[in-house]
């Protein structure tokens, strides 16, 4: 039990770095919240140009909100291990008597400050400029789904992080590659069902796909859902559990391999 307390203490400290440093250097507010909203607005205008019904514009806004979390997982958490290695901090974390997951959790939670603000900016933009209408009775369920999707997503992020224990730039490239196809596969900008049944089913292995789909069905009362909400929620819960254990397993395997090959703390690879 004391080990759980110690791990939470470590996570808190790692999150604290993010919050304090972010407060000291405020340029991120511009670069990470205000500017990304522009991309989202751009996609809204694509639907305008296409003459699509207004609910499609709300889909894009919701997708834009979720993009922030995906980027936080990729760059704020997974690839961050790579930075830590080059900054000389990874050895310090690795030889401390704590779980690697607590450090990752700290990064994730600390990064939430930025992502939350970014999502709110996009939401406000959507409500004020693009008149997104929420289906109020569905909001509570939507929030529950959101939490499930986040649990699964951050589990996935921890799996990705494990790659950086062993690999360097190679892993970074794959993470870069993953970024945009995931926009496609999770239907950030269109209903998941538009991908067609097979592709949508495959995309469901990625937590944001079903997460966004279910949130659209609940919060926007969308009729274009892929699967019924309870089914999607159950799958998300399954993914969350599976990814957690997979991440733990992969972190251990990758760490051991890196220690065997002498690459755990090898800089600039």
């Amino acid at each position: 039990m004391s080990s759980l307390a110690n791990n939470l203490r470590a996570a808190r400290a790692r999150a604290w770095i993010r919050v304090v440093a972010a407060n000291r250097e405020l340029s991120w507010v511009f670069f990470e919240t205000f500017l990304p909203a522009m991309t989202t607005a751009g996609y809204v205008l694509v639907y305008r140009a296409l003459g699509a019904p207004p609910e499609f514009e709300s889909y894009v806004i919701l997708g834009g909100v979720m993009t922030a979390f995906w980027l936080n997982v990729l760059w704020g958490m997974a690839a961050q291990f790579f930075w830590e290695k080059d900054m000389g901090n990874l050895d310090i974390y690795m030889m401390a008597p704590i779980s690697r997951m607590s450090i990752l959790l700290g990064m994730a939670v600390g990064g939430m400050l930025g992502t939350a603000i970014r999502s709110v900016v996009i939401l406000v933009l959507g409500i004020v400029l693009f008149r997104v209408q929420f289906h109020l009775p569905g909001l509570a369920t939507a929030f529950g789904i959101f939490l499930l999707a986040m649990a699964a997503l951050y589990g996935l992020g921890m799996m990705l992080a494990s790659l950086f224990l062993l690999f360097g730039r190679g892993a970074q490239r794959w993470v870069e590659v993953a970024q945009e196809p995931v926009y496609l596969l999770s239907g950030f900008n269109f209903p998941l069902a538009s991908l067609g049944r097979t592709a949508a089913a495959l995309a469901s292995a990625f937590p944001l796909a079903l997460g966004i789909d279910a949130i659209r069905q609940t919060a926007l009362d969308s009729r274009t859902g892929f699967l019924p909400v309870p089914v999607e929620a159950a799958i998300l819960a399954g993914l969350a559990v599976a990814f957690f254990f997979l991440a733990r397993f992969m972190l251990r395997v990758m760490e051991n391999r890196a220690k065997r090959e002498g690459r755990l703390t090898l800089k600039w690879q």
Binding site: W16, M87, P97, K259, R260
Partner: protein
Amino acid sequence: MPPAIRTQGLTRLYRKAPRRGVPAQEFRAVDGVDLEIQPGELFGLLGPNGAGKTTLIKILCTLLFPTSGTAEVCGLDVVKDCERVRERINMVSGGEPSGYGLLTIREQLWVFSQLYGLSTAEAMSRIDRMLDQYGLAKDAGTKINRLSTGMRQKMNLIRGFMTAPSVLFLDEPTLGLDAHIARQTRDFIRAWMAEDRTRALLLTTHYLAEAHELCDRVAIIHQGRIRACDTPENLVAAHRGDAVFEITLSGLDGQSEALRRDPDMKVSRLDADPAAGHTTVRFSLADDAALPGALSRMAALGGRIVNLSKHEVTLEDVFVKIAGQTIADAEKSSE
């Protein structure tokens, strides 16, 4: 109480990537190391660059697996029991940057203390005490971005000391420090060891005088192998009979390297000063009687004596004799 550190036949191979024409090769960075270090000991691991010191420390710190052999810290196997080992150790690697540029020294140290389950109050009181003791208190609010080498190194060392590990590893703690800060650092290390007699500290260095001054026992490591292990006094005493001379010659005209090939002289230092046309050589002989022969061979190379003096044997001379090479040579051959 189990030994603080015990290794048996500890070996680590690295694979050298294949290059054009040269196939992949394995080479031994650490080769059959047997060491036993007791609680309370301040132990020095001496060796030139590339001797395998850092590799050995990484294995003991659970950052690297050995290829074969065993290593225990506080009686716990570093491979099988790595989580419990981690609760008992800390490591500081000299000259390496660490931390987050936007935090201050004090904040950074607090962050790292949190990896060891210290309460904030306890951590801050230790940190402030050590900052004060180590003369860093006035810089506590400086951002990591703006640290001088000395400040960074002091911060790193406090990071290791503040968690009060049973076994502390310091990899080249005085690397790149000026004489004053190096002295402060040695004092700090001694004071920390004196606080608790069950602590053990393993440090590596290639400054042999520093090891002599600081360590209870030293091991000389060269090309991955332990070549000698004893107290500095005993190591020096064992070679007391040796005659160590320092001679300054003029007129060698670039032939000074030939002195290294002399059959009787073991050269431990050779500084050529082309501007002044002088070469200073430190060497040992089996006994004083070998001196005339050596001097005549120097004369044959064209050397004229500017200065000649006899010296006490130092750890450096012992190292030269044991390793069969000077530190500088070993560094050259490892490049």
